[in-house]
């Protein structure tokens, strides 16, 4: 382990009492608590941390936060591996293992660096041009491209971590914990508003953490003391939620904001509170928002600008003061504005040798020039950097004079292992733009800034293009007060702290989007993550791309995981130059959510695994589980599909269940059927309008099957409805259609027929239902009920009776979905499990067999009963089902008019028929297409229809199928063919749908 040679002897926000050991690229390092991976590596003089995406060029640490373009590593291994983590954001902890990615076999020797030598061939649009054809070639190239261009590797194992989501409402959301954001939060909080303050890094303070200690002072104290007092005030207010390590990643409609909190990522796995999630997503609904997201420094674009050691001037200051690291021993500062000069002075203060300040301008602020002279720093005005050297880190810089847009005379070579670069500042308008606010180009700043707001937000401080510290504090206070006022609170701006010992804040800038070069094709990178050079942007314009959005996609500039935070403004400037248009006329690309990459886990929250989605169980669910049930989802319900006995396979269990329901007794848990209580004097009229058949004369005690259509005439749902009293009905719907049908019925009652006196209430889960079926079922019902004669002669089919079982009230319906003698016993759901046990015990002497939904499907298909949604697909009318008998003739009902439309009257519509195969053991595939010829004709093939249901029927001892077939009703006994994926079509014969009846008739 090497020593921290680049660590300053004192200062910084690190905890020198807590040493932290970690590894990077297989080597061991030591840092302090409070370090990021980047600051700890810089403390050891490590600059190169990654390889670039395309050319595998060495990439160093450029920024000091989420703006860093290319410093991506993988943290940890195996299931816990976290790829594409920014070294400038990841805080170190004991045992942290950082693994370089995008290099093979190692960071220092990467075989794919060959790509760099080939770079002339990998210009803009390389992929588009190369892989346009021949068809299918992408499949060949894709694995190779993916291997060499990978952005880290996704772990194959399930994520072992827990994630969380929280919904929050607030009056004022302040985004950004820098000077402006803190003043906004203080102002709004003092007014009594509910505040959430989100700070992306580990602690509040923003730029105050990147200033030298004591310069400036706030209220006569160092910045850290002022921050302590602010933190204390906010923490003591119960209506303030202060979130650190929390990035606002999305600004959506109506001030809906998503914030992503890294709760545990900064802690060693052993130190993490197992009760806390790893990360948490805050779903915030804010009345008002203050955007205090600061500004991001952008680099200059010059030949050789991607070498490790070339950093943003602001990042240099952050490392110097926040982390007490001197990023280099000899430094050059290269700038087009005044702000970067402070980096030179601070570096000199920290003991680095400044070999030159290179400023492209003819003049800089005189105060700065004087101070440089006082510090013996050579200053080169009207000069540019023309080249850089150093294999894996910067060693020297060549500079020359500038002649407007060309390079002047050589000045010489400066020794430097770090270069602080500044191309000016760009207000961080990503969230403002996500909110659909309109930007305005500001010539004085050479950047876009917020123009017109659309949502209830306001920008403050550097995010608004206001760069001076004093102005930021004041603007933040005003914005916080205004936001609280707008949210309904009497507020006034908090008094900003008095600033003293301020360094001057000169702000002169001369925009220069690309530094002139002596070379025809300089290696001047715009986007350091995606390896986009000036020449790529120019090529895109040459090839005809005019829109900034198209040029972005063609060159991939700004399309990396950093979303071009430092690259985009330069790219727009260069494109504007190439297009010879003003920047505002070129515009910007679209800022999209998320602001930076989020984990899928944080988006999913706790909605994963077993609790991903509700699975609804009936009151008998526990019994089913204990008796070998295999479940299937039906809507959100889990229904027992089949009950496997020990040693039995699925098919054997199914055959047994199907047989038993027709020879002895079967029992089905039918609790999931939708049930609607209908009450009111107009209930009959209502039913008569929503069902296709007649309901006006159904007497109390009787039941009727009904079909519901949409207004388009297509079958929507079906079920049996019982008349309880003249003004009281009990409707059943399909399991999956229950909610839809209730809403649909309410729609008609509330909006079309408010004159009808009808109330509807769902009672689906009030009732548990055991459906008993089979020749011996009457005996069982007789044994169960205290007071019911189940004799089918007197208790007729399609009627219902009130009864009791051991004194518990039940409703028994004589209805059947199998064609067998059946009784459906409805009981209050809390008695459901008790009833089921009771049925099983009483049925045991009769050989009762519980059967699942699969047997139910087979049994109903044997009788040709439809299942809506399986034998219908939303294009099927009652006539298509050949159920003409259920359509009443003389009165209107929903969908009736559509049944006489020319399309629904077509003679060649598909109709439901039975199909039997020649070979009784061949079971057709559901969904298989039906054709008219014994062999597959040449495409296009005329499809006559498709198989909707298909089973092996143990009761008929053969396969059966239902199908929708063109003019099916007129094709009885016709030979058709069912197309196969592999092999010859299967010959079938068209039959009626009631296979049991057909078989009985054949038996004579």
């Amino acid at each position: 382990m090497t020593a921290q040679h680049f660590r300053r002897p004192a200062g910084g926000r690190i905890d020198r009492g807590r040493k932290v050991a970690f590894s990077f690229d297989g080597r061991r390092f030591e840092g302090y608590a409070g370090d990021t991976l980047a600051s700890a590596l810089l403390a050891h003089g490590e600059q190169m941390v990654a390889r670039s995406f395309k050319y595998h060029r060495p990439r160093g640490i450029v920024g000091a936060g989420s703006e860093d373009p290319a410093g991506l590593v993988q943290i940890g291994r195996g299931a816990n591996a976290d790829p594409n983590t920014r070294v400038t954001e990841q805080e170190i902890y004991d045992g942290l293992e950082a693994i370089p990615q995008n290099c093979f076999p190692s960071l220092n020797f990467d075989i794919n660096v060959l790509n760099d030598l080939m770079s002339p061939f990998y210009s803009a649009g390389f992929y588009y041009k190369t892989f346009m054809g021949p068809p299918g070639s992408w499949r060949l190239f894709e694995p190779i491209v993916r291997h060499s261009a990978g952005m880290g590797v996704c772990p194959a194992e399930p994520d072992p971590d827990r994630y969380d989501q929280v919904n929050r409402h607030c009056d004022v959301l302040v985004i950004g914990g820098g000077p402006a954001g803190l003043m906004a939060a203080l102002s709004a909080a003092r007014a009594g508003a509910r505040i959430i303050l989100c700070e992306e890094t580990a602690e509040i303070g923003g730029r105050l953490l990147s200033y030298p200690e004591g310069a400036p002072t706030l209220n006569g104290k160092p910045a850290s003391a002022w921050l302590d007092s602010v933190r204390g005030e906010l923490a003591a207010n119960p209506d303030v939620t202060l979130l650190t390590r929390t990035t606002v990643t999305g600004y959506y409609a109506m001030n809906f904001i998503v914030a992503w909190e890294k709760v545990s990522d900064h802690l060693a796995p052993g130190e993490r509170d197992s009760h806390l999630p790893r990360q948490r997503t805050w779903r915030i609904r804010a009345k008002e928002v203050v955007l205090a997201t600061g500004a991001i420094e952008r680099p200059l674009v010059f030949n050789g600008n991607d070498r490790p050691g070339i950093m943003l001037a602001s990042a240099v200051r952050t490392y110097l003061h926040r982390y007490a690291v001197v990023p280099g021993r000899s430094a050059v500062v290269f700038t087009n504005n005044d702000s970067a000069w402070a980096a030179a002075f601070d570096l000199a203060e920290a003991g680095a040798l400044i070999t030159g300040i290179v400023d492209i301008r003819e003049a800089a602020d005189p105060g700065l020039v004087e101070r440089a002279a006082a510090l013996d720093i050579p200053v080169h005005l009207n000069a540019v950097v023309t080249a850089t050297s150093g294999r894996k880190r910067l060693s020297s810089v060549e500079i020359a004079g500038r002649n407007v847009d060309t390079v002047g005379e050589d000045i010489g070579r400066l020794t430097a292992d770090v270069m602080a670069v500044s191309g000016g500042w760009t207000p961080n308008v990503a969230l403002f733009s996500q909110s659909r606010g309109q930007l305005r180009y500001d010539n004085a700043l050479s950047a876009f800034r917020p123009g017109r707001s659309v949502q209830k937000e306001r920008s403050a401080g550097a995010a608004n293009g206001t760069y001076g510290l004093g102005a930021c504090l004041g603007e933040g206070a005003a914005a916080g007060a205004a936001a609280a006022e707008a949210a309904g609170f009497a507020a006034k701006p908090a008094a900003p702290p008095a600033l003293a010992a301020m360094e001057p804040e000169p702000a002169g800038i001369e925009a220069l989007w690309q530094v002139p070069s002596k070379l025809k094709k300089p290696k001047a990178f715009v986007d350091l993550q995606d390896d986009v050079k000036v020449s790529d942007l120019k090529l895109a314009v040459q090839e005809g791309y005019r829109s900034v959005e198209h040029a972005k996609r063609y060159t991939t500039t700004g399309m990396g995981t950093d979303q071009g935070k430092i690259a985009n403004m330069n790219a727009f400037g260069i494109l504007a130059g190439a297009l010879d248009k003003p920047i505002p006329a070129v515009g910007t690309t679209t800022f999209r959510q998320p602001y930076k990459p989020m984990t899928i886990g944080a988006l999913a929250g706790a909605h994963v695994g077993e609790t991903f989605h509700p699975r609804r169980g009936t009151p008998m669910h526990h019994w089913h589980r204990e008796h070998g049930a295999v479940f299937e989802p039906v809507g959100d319900w889990l229904r027992a599909r089949v009950y496997k006995r020990p040693g039995e396979d699925f098919d054997a269990a199914l055959m047994r269940e199907c047989k038993s329901a027709r020879t002895d007794i079967g029992v089905l848990d039918a609790s999931t059927l939708g049930k609607i209580d209908i009450r009111g004097k107009d209930a009959r009229t209502f039913l008569n309008r929503v069902y296709t058949n007649a309901w006006l004369k159904l007497a109390p005690g009787k039941c009727r099957y009904g079909l519901m259509l949409g207004e388009d005439g297509m079958v929507m749902d079906d079920g049996v409805t019982a008349c309880i009293a003249d003004d009281h009905f009990h409707m059943t719907t399909t399991t999956g259609g229950a909610a839809r049908v209730l809403t649909w019925l309410e729609d008609y009652l509330q909006t079309e027929w408010p004159d009808l006196d009808v109330y509807l209430t769902s009672v689906t889960e009030q009732w548990a239902v055991a459906s008993i079926c089979g020749p011996k079922s009457a005996e069982l019902v007789a044994a169960l009920c205290d007071d019911l004669d189940p004799d089918p002669e007197s208790f007729e089919f399609m009627t219902w009776r009130d009864a009791h079982i051991d004194g518990v009230p039940v409703r028994v319906f004589r209805i059947s979905f199998t064609g067998e003698l059946s009784y459906e016993i409805n009981i209050s759901a809390s008695y459901g499990a008790w009833l089921w046990e009771k049925v099983m015990a009483a049925g045991a002497p009769h050989g009762i067999t519980p059967y699942g939904t699969e047997a139910m499907h087979v049994l109903r298909a044997e009788k040709g009963f439809i299942i809506v949604g399986q034998d219908t697909d939303g294009t099927v009318t009652p006539f298509d089902l050949r159920m003409d008998w259920i359509v009443k003739k003389n009165t209107d009902f929903i969908g009736r008019r559509s049944l006489t439309r020319s399309d629904t009257q077509r003679p060649d519509r598909r109709q439901l028929v039975g199909l039997v195969t020649e070979n009784p053991s061949v079971v057709l595939m559901e969904g298989a297409q039906i054709i008219g010829t014994p062999s597959e004709p040449t495409p296009p093939v005329k499809m006559l229809g498709y198989v909707t249901s298909s089973y092996f029927s143990p009761n008929l001892n053969r396969s059966i199928a239902l199908a929708l077939v063109e003019s099916g009703g007129e094709r009885m006994d016709e030979r058709l063919y069912v197309s196969q994926k592999d092999g010859a079509p299967i010959p079938v014969t068209v039959t009626e749908t009631d296979f049991l009846k057909t078989a009985e008739q054949a038996d004579g």
Partner: protein
């Protein structure tokens, strides 16, 4: 005392308490529940004669009497909560009192169960499950609102005020079939404060 032959949706779930006691969750099983639908103005007086409290008229309002608690569900719909097995009698009495007025009374005691969420962290826990504003300024004692909790619909009622010893208590009424799912989701949301992880009964693999 409810009929022992009855089984509530969460009968298999024992109450859970967080270490430190900032949270408890428990089922409030087998309460009597009715849905009443009637024109508010026409039905108000009749309901008051039976229950001793009139119909609440606006969202979040509830009415409380010795006989029952009435939750507003919609302008013409209320949920009436009463003691276990008192609902049939109450339904009959209401039916008699409302004779001649168009109305509907449906017994829904077994349609729902309630999960009680109590303790200092109850509001924080609930805010993980619902987009309703759970701040004490926005959801007050005695209020009830329907909403979505995780992926289940429910009706949330603050039964015990925040300043009562032990913090606020909420009853979350949820459908029978969703109760076990929601129980597990509530426990997961409370894990941060020490509730154990619970696994849903219907969590098995789906296909053979």
């Amino acid at each position: 005392m409810a009929d022992p032959r009855r089984r509530s949706p969460l009968a298999h779930r024992a109450p859970l308490t967080a270490e430190g006691g900032t949270l408890t969750i428990a089922e409030r099983p087998l309460l009597g529940r009715l849905v009443l639908r009637v024109d508010a103005d026409k039905g108000d007086a009749a309901v008051a004669t039976v229950i001793g409290a009139g119909l609440p008229k606006a969202v979040a309002e509830t009415a409380l009497s010795e006989a029952a608690t009435i939750f507003w569900l919609s302008p013409d719909e209320w949920m009436i909560v009463t003691a276990a097995e008192a609902e049939e009698r109450l339904a009959a009495d209401l039916g008699a009192a409302l004779a001649g007025i168009h109305h509907q009374i449906a017994v829904v005691s077994d349609y729902y169960t309630a999960i009680e969420i109590a303790g200092a962290r109850a509001r924080d826990l609930l805010s993980k499950l619902t987009t309703l504003d759970m701040h004490a300024r926005a959801f007050k004692p005695g209020e009830a609102r329907a909403g979505i909790f995780a992926k289940a619909n429910g009706v949330l009622f603050q039964r015990v005020a925040d300043d009562a010893g032990g913090g606020p208590a909420f009853d979350l009424a949820v459908r029978w079939s969703m109760a076990d799912y929601l129980w597990c989701v509530v426990a997961e949301a409370g894990h941060e404060w020490g509730l154990p992880v619970e696994h849903p009964v219907a969590g098995e693999p789906l296909f053979h």
